[in-house]
């Protein structure tokens, strides 16, 4: 059984996405844990880490939440365990989740230092489990070089088995290969993969947005998996809305108050992915009936339009368990751009 710690230098680099892609590309039985949870999700009366819940769902892992994530609170963890206890708990939990598995991915927190005060940073976890540490970095050119240089000076220690870096979200693979890759090689840091940026992975799904806002689903339950590529705030007049270039784009989500019937109608007639109704105002029954007929999701929230748009705009495009398109894309990216034998050998 192979244990891999997946860490990142900065938040949102794509650790979880890489775990999903690599895990599926490898095939076999995949185990997973994220010792120090940082994306708290309350579901089915228990606290989960969002990433833990996602990966467990994708790989059909039925582990106890307490084994997958040992804690969320610095304060609680520092009171309940010292360094030795923490090492032991992490190691034992890794053994339990790894039973019968071909590979176990252990995901670190948002960056290299997160959890260090309670011995739950990625390096401490790698030491405790003996797992091979990989780091995901993102960005272009000099940012990547800075991150990798930093990693070399802190992570590359004899007692930390360092597997290498995965460079994620690279916009220009050719330029990267020509200019940056040679300099990484000069640093002597192994590169386990260079993965290109994919716009599709940045889109939110309707169901993700609905869950994030605790929105009520009025119609279109079957279309909740649709991607949202563009947001359009329906605050203009009917004529202006009809002439808006946003309306011509694919997969738009129109955010408007529930009493703006004319805007809602325009959205429905232009095949919007979803209409997000604000101010807790339901549109008239004929509009709801039309949305039902066209199978367009109508979501209802109590916030005003500005607050709703602000919340949607600030949502991180995390992977959803029902987003099979994205999951397949990540798998394909791992197959094409990751040295899979670095994870299986």
């Amino acid at each position: 059984m192979r244990e891999i710690v997946m860490a990142s230098v900065s938040k949102g680099a794509g650790k979880t996405s890489m775990i999903v892609g690599i895990g599926r590309a490898l095939g076999g039985k995949v185990g997973y844990m994220k010792p120090f949870g940082d994306r708290l999700l309350y579901r089915k009366k228990r606290l989960w880490d969002y990433d833990s819940a996602l990966v467990s769902s994708i790989f059909g892992i039925e582990a106890n939440p307490e084994d997958v994530s040992l804690g969320f609170d610095h304060a609680k963890l520092s009171f309940t365990a010292d360094a030795e206890d923490t090492r032991r708990r992490v190691s034992e939990a890794a053994e339990r989740v790894g039973k019968g598995r071909d590979v176990v991915f252990i995901e670190g927190g948002r960056d290299m230092s997160y959890g260090a005060s309670v011995h739950m940073d990625p390096i401490s976890i790698a030491r405790a489990t003996g797992a091979r540490l990989f780091a995901v970095v993102q960005g272009e050119g000099t940012t990547v070089l800075d991150d990798i240089s930093f990693l070399k000076s802190t992570v590359c220690a004899p007692d930390v088995p360092f597997g290498g870096v995965i460079v994620n979200k690279v916009r220009d693979l050719v330029e990267f290969g020509d200019l940056t890759l040679p300099r990484i090689a000069e640093l002597g840091v192994p590169v386990a993969g260079v993965v290109p940026f994919e716009q599709e992975l940045t889109y939110l799904s309707v169901s993700y947005i609905a869950e994030g806002l605790f929105a009520k689903v009025i119609t279109g339950e079957q279309q909740m998996n649709r991607s949202v590529r563009t947001l359009m705030i329906g605050a203009m007049s009917q004529n202006a809305a009809l002439e808006s270039p946003l309306l011509k784009k694919r997969d738009i989500m129109v955010i408007t108050s529930g009493d703006r019937s004319e805007i809602i109608l325009i959205a429905l007639e232009n095949n919007a992915a979803c209409v997000l109704l604000t101010n807790d105002i339901l549109p008239p029954p004929n509009i709801i009936a039309l949305a039902e007929e066209k199978n367009v999701p109508l979501l209802l929230v109590p916030f005003d339009t500005y607050e709703t748009a602000r919340q949607v705009d600030s949502m991180m495009p995390l992977l959803g368990k029902d987003e099979m398109g994205k999951i397949e894309l990540l798998t394909e990216l791992a197959r094409k751009h990751i040295k899979l034998d670095a994870f299986s050998g």
Binding site: K45, L47, D73, F214, D280, P302
Partner: protein, 712 residues
Amino acid sequence: MAALPDIKHLFEPRGVAIIGASHDPSKIGYKILSNIVASGYRGALHPVNPKGGEILGLPVSRSVAEIPGDELDLACVVVPAKFVFEAVKGCADRGVKFCMAISSGFSDVGNREEERKIVAYARERGMRVLGPNIFGVYSRPAAMNATFGPSKIAPGKVAIVTQSGAIGLSMIGKTAVESIGLSAIVSVGNKADIDEADLLDYLVADEGTSVVLMYVEGVQKGERFVSALRSATRKKPVVIIKSGRSERGAIAAASHTGSVAGSDEVFDDVVRQCGVLRAESIGEAFEWCKFLSDTPMPKGERTLIVTNGGGIGVMAADACEKYGVRLFDDPKLLKELFSSVTPEFGSLKNPVDLTGQATSTHYDKALDAALACESVDSVLALYCETAVFDAENLEAMIQENCRRYREGGKPIAFSIIGGEMTEKALLSLRGKAVPVFADVYTAVSCFGSMYAYHRRRNERPEAVLEADIDVGAIEELCVRAHRERRSSFLADEGQRLLELMGIPMPKTGLARNLDEAVKVAESIGYPVVMKVVSRDIIHKTDMGGVALDIDNRDEVIDAYRGILHNCRTRMPNAVIQGVQISEMLKGNSEFIVGGRRDSAFGPVVMFGFGGIYVEVLKDVAFRAFPMTRKEVMEMLKDVRSYPLLLGVRGQEKKDIGAVVDTIVKVGTVIHRCPSISDMEINPVFVCEHGSGVKAVDVRIILSDVTRGGADA
């Protein structure tokens, strides 16, 4: 302030002045004067115009002050808006009792200030103002047509009060065509002072009025209106047409007379509570008024249908179900009464089918039998034109039967369908105010209105209910919230309010940290419900601030942290006091009880099927408060989910008495605590009979903080 005059002097003035009387026949100032003269008004009539002279043979005073004599009860002001105040001032100083301000250009165009000034001056001197923006008053007792509408108004028994000038004027013409006579018609316009409530007392007391018809667009001073309606509908039928049902209609109504139509659902529920007959259209209203003004009231609700066609009989039976008309149902008596006039293949059920062979003689015999039978309270006779019927006798047969029924004090109506001869008879009979209709549904709807009024009239008046509540203690809670510039109560204040109202809540406690959360949950006992407590978070479920069915310690810990995480993520600026933990109640009997100060009607209560989907399902009913026990029960039955309270699928009956008490308590708080504008208990968990109710969550909205207290 001087004492206000008796409204009688508006309808029976001893002297009338027309301020702005005109020599020009095309002007309103001339038209009104000429109508008063033509209608045969017997009191003193004084045209006023600075030019003086003579109009229609009457000497013209140059000002109100110049008018001779003492008895000047009514002044009609027909001058441009900018001169109205001076005219009103003159009238008030002269001691005129009522002033009709015909002129428009006040709150109808947004000029409320001038209107207020006029009314304030008038009332200070003991004068009442009708209007502005009206067409005038017609009064049969005074033989006075002080309107600028049609000159000829047929006298009769229907009184009309209208908020729309155009509709009112056209109603005058229409009543003449429909052979409906009027006892009065009053245009209230902007209702700056006198409104419908003021007029109702006089009209229902007037012996010459049998029915009152009101056209309403918006309601102000709703509590007075409700009180006046409740009293009026026990004495005479009151029919209301209200526009502004739709959103568009409401907007149009708002711009028409400066009044804003309240929610139509509230209006509908409240006026039905008051015993009003609400018509869907002017046509329907006129049919009802005509029928009610000339038809004797039934002694009971046993209606017999006599027909010569099976199909039309079935339609009539369907219509009776729709309009709440109960059918006479004694097969033995039916056989006894009608077997001699019905062929063997006819029907002796109700409807009684005389068959297509029937002639006028058969109808006469059948209707004679029904008239003589004390067990039959009213009769609906249907006629389909056949080749066998002696059509030349149709009109006479109907007219004679209607006459005998009227003399016998039993209601009857005919519905006839056919070709040329039938239509001719229909037209002729309707011109003579005989109760005959082309459409059976129209006929039955008239019966429906008659029976609705009959039930109202025969209702035993009950005392209104009010709960015994410590209003002072409740107001103290409000003072604290106002001091902190809050517009709603916190969770603990809501609980305290419920304690003061005597409405139990599930066992509950507030946790300010994780340890307290566990302690409270374990002291209450599982399962529990956990909810965030924050003045800034009103819709807790929408924020992820609620966790249900928490069964053990671990779940308490996770729920506590999950709730705080969700709320802080969604509303980072919200101040969170903690998490409330309560016993979890299970079952399907969750209802909503609410109350609010409606902008139109004042204190209004709401009851319905509750929970988080109440705003989607909208299975609710409204009533004005205070109310009687009977009205509370009717309100419960209006809700489609009412059978859940009776117990379904083997479940026990619920404590309906406790539900009634809860509604009365909420109504009392809204009625007597002006600092509270809205109160909603949702859900109210209704336990089994004898076990009361529990208020699971309560939301209190306070009256406008900036005004420092109650709404005006």
